[in-house]
């Protein structure tokens, strides 16, 4: 699996990041706050930088992987990520820039005059930020692992060390140029390989026509798949395989393997140890669940339906192509699931901790709106392409289903392009793009998390009188702690799809920060108690629902209970459709029941809404 070219791509991107960071810092104008780059960045450069930070590993690797796994339904993710930016543009971009708060905790405190509310917001920022860091860690793990041929855990650890070092050394601190460059790298790295792939494998129309002719995913040529001891395969049609040595396998009862997540928990497979048989060098894998007892390199013949790994639900091409396929359809409540997913992504974008910070690099609200619109254009341009990797992957590299490797399709597909030199070059390019994706988002997240930990928890609660150097040390220590926490949690999520994890972070943000920001900006009747209670109830409800779903993956009893109530299972797995209205209802209800608007609300509304031209603006943060 090792690819020298991909390793080269990773290292080249690392060097470029550090080099541009050092170069840009010489020219960067400093501001009072290290979190924010010079205010007067032009909208075009700023939009590229924001897009660079926004397009995470979920966009670069995850969308393609999930499209390959589940088909049409996954298109809601990229469309939702872009639409979330439109929602941010129309509801909060202008007013929030006028208000002049850098972060959601700043907004919570400034709008409601409540340091206690600020603490609640800090805790929610930490929860959302950590959830969002998990998929980035998974992406980092699989990228490094597939490039260098090391275990997943090594990849996660290496990335954590590199990114924490970059953040602690200050190499990417709000530097617009680095992030703008990373957007360019990502756009280049997603488009160039896809064009080469299209030249090699046919036009989009031709690809879909090719898919329509194959109801099951079957490899176009014979391929070798590595099976590790304990790997479980789901065989949908008996398939003749070639092995280097006779290998023992265990035939497990039941037709379905335990899928960690198909929209909602799946019925557990029937218990029973199964029977052990030894496959000869030219053996046949029977239909059903097969567990490898020893490592083996398994040669799958051309033109035969490939087996599926334990985490990949088998799908027919016709259901994969249609709405409510294996993702939404697999949940048992397709319509409910789809709408809940759409709502979570649409409303969650503005609540991600690292997104709002960059908006204050705009000089005024007018520039903030134009920047947000340009971001929409840039990310829209990017999101056209990842799904094509998923389509090509199903057609040309279905053996990735066997190894549960769909999240790596962007990294592995280019290696199939011949001649080898071209394939290697493309593999280096996509590896560099993946590095840009997880490094940009992870460092943005770590800066936000370290800011919340160091600035709020240390600087305001634990040691309010801390000196400047002490605070600076606390920031660095916090970056280390946040990186360590993200890496440790990242080790646990190897079997979760990148985008499923991202969807959860969005759901928590959408259930707490979205109502807080929208009502806080547009409704002067919102009271402090209402806002705090609503954000807490929504955020906690969404988090508990998601934790229940994650635990169900490990608890057969819980899974069993959820399988019997599919609507409940869908709401727990994709809670936004319930928890967002819940948060709104608590906010509005509490505010109406005890109408005590925070002091100076009229002045806050003037600051939020009066056009900059009139010169009434005073930044909430005086520094």
């Amino acid at each position: 699996m090792t690819s020298l070219a991909a390793v080269f791509g990773l290292l080249a991107m690392l060097v470029a990041t550090v080099a541009v960071g050092v170069f840009a810092r010489r020219f960067a104008r400093t501001t009072s706050d290290f979190l924010v780059a010079a205010r007067s960045v032009r909208p075009a450069a700023n939009a590229a930088a924001i897009s660079g930070e926004y397009l995470s590993a979920a966009s670069f690797l995850g969308i393609a992987g999930l499209v390959m796994k589940f088909g049409y339904d996954v298109l809601w993710y990229p469309v939702g990520y872009a639409a979330g930016y439109l929602v941010l543009l129309i509801f909060i971009a202008g007013p929030l820039r006028r208000f002049g708060a850098y972060t959601i905790p700043d907004f919570a405190e400034g709008r409601f005059n409540s340091p206690r509310f600020r603490r609640l917001a800090v805790v929610l920022v930490l929860v959302v930020g950590l959830f969002y860091a998990l998929p980035q860690m998974k992406a980092a793990g699989i990228t490094v692992a597939s490039a260098a041929g090391v275990p997943y855990a090594t990849g996660v650890a290496a990335t954590a060390v590199v990114v924490v070092t970059i953040v602690v050394a200050g190499g990417m601190r709000g530097v617009t140029l680095v992030q703008a460059m990373q957007f360019a790298v990502k756009l280049f790295a997603i488009t160039v390989p896809v064009f080469v792939l299209l030249i090699q494998f046919g036009t989009p129309g031709g690809l879909f026509a090719g898919l329509a002719g194959r109801e099951t995913a079957s490899a176009p040529q014979a391929t070798v798949v590595h099976a590790a001891p304990g790997d479980e395969w789901q065989v949908t049609e008996a398939i003749a395989v070639h092995l280097d040595n006779p290998t023992p396998v265990r035939l497990l009862p039941g037709a379905r393997a335990p899928a960690v997540y198909v929209g909602a928990p799946q019925p557990p497979p029937p218990a029973g140890a199964g029977t052990e048989v030894t496959l000869g060098v030219d053996g046949t894998l029977p239909v059903g669940r097969v567990r490898w007892e020893q490592a083996a390199d398994v040669r799958l013949p051309a033109g035969q339906p490939v087996p599926y790994g334990a985490q990949t639900p088998p799908s027919t091409t016709s259901s994969w192509l249609k709405p409510f396929g294996p993702l939404a359809g697999g949940s048992g409540q397709p319509l409910l699931f789809t709408y809940s997913l759409i709502v979570a992504i649409l409303c969650g974008t503005m609540g991600l901790p690292h997104i709002l910070v960059r908006f204050y690099t705009n000089p005024d609200a007018r520039a903030a709106r134009r920047t947000a619109w340009l971001v929409l254009v840039l990310v829209g341009l990017f999101y056209l392409w990842p799904p094509l990797y998923g389509v090509i992957g199903r057609l040309r590299a279905p053996q990735l289903y066997t190894g549960d490797l769909t999240d790596s399709v962007v990294l592995l597909l280019p290696r199939q392009v011949g001649p080898h030199v071209v394939g290697d070059a493309l593999a280096a390019i996509t590896a560099a793009g993946a590095f840009a994706a997880f490094a940009a988002t992870l460092s943005g997240l770590l800066i936000s998390l370290a800011g919340a930990l160091g600035h709020d928890i240390y600087g305001r609660w634990l040691r309010p009188g801390a000196s400047g150097p002490e605070r600076s040390r606390a920031f660095r220590a916090s970056a280390l702690v946040a990186g360590l926490a993200a890496a440790l949690l990242g080790l646990l999520v190897e079997n979760f799809d990148i985008n499923v994890l991202v969807g959860w972070a969005f759901a928590i943000a959408a259930s707490s920060f979205f109502p807080l920001l929208v009502l806080g900006i547009w409704w002067r009747g919102l009271t402090t108690a209402g806002a705090a209670l609503g954000a807490a109830v929504g955020g906690i409800a969404a988090t508990l629902a998601i934790l229940t779903t994650m635990l169900a993956a490990a608890s057969p009893g819980l899974t069993d209970a959820l399988v019997r109530h599919p609507a409940l299972a869908v709401v727990l797995a994709q809670p936004a459709i319930v928890t967002i209205p819940l948060a709104f209802a608590v906010m509005v209800g509490t505010s109406l029941a005890r109408p005590r608007a925070p002091a100076g609300v009229a002045a806050k509304m003037v600051q939020l809404h009066i056009p900059d031209r009139l010169g009434l603006r005073r930044d909430y943060i005086p520094e």
């Binding site: 439109l86 879909f208 319509l335 056009p611 031209r613 009139l614 010169g615």
Partner: protein, 118 residues
């Protein structure tokens, strides 16, 4: 860049001594409240109009697919129509909606400013 031409930069005049209605706004007098309320209402109606268009355009797709399953089998040049509508068509629509919003939000702000500026 073409975008710069589309959105010519406008300088922000410095003002330090608010006059007339502007002072009403700054000091939150009842007159100022009425002006502020009118501005917020116009901006919010614009935002909600754009949001509603987005929600209808996206939200109708699962419903269409649910009520009319043949939608999933339609093809254009062998590409399934739902893929084209959602995976390609959504972006120009959202970009157009965003442009519509930015233009109108700026117009509302400008009209409000011109009303108050002596």
């Amino acid at each position: 860049m073409a975008l710069e031409r589309q959105f010519p930069e406008r300088s922000v005049p410095e003002r330090h001594v608010p006059l007339g209605e502007l002072r009403d706004l700054e000091e939150q007098t009842p007159v100022g409240e009425i002006f502020l309320g009118a501005l917020m209402r116009r901006q919010l109606v614009l935002s909600l109009r754009v949001a509603l268009t987005l929600v209808v355009a996206l939200g109708a797709q699962p419903l269409v697919a649910w009520l009319w399953p043949e939608y999933g089998t339609l093809r254009v040049f062998s590409i399934p129509l739902p893929w084209l509508v959602l995976g390609v068509g959504s972006y120009p629509l959202m970009i157009a909606l965003g442009l519509y919003y930015v233009r109108h939000a700026e117009t509302i702000d400008d009209e409000f400013s011109e009303l108050l500026e002596p």
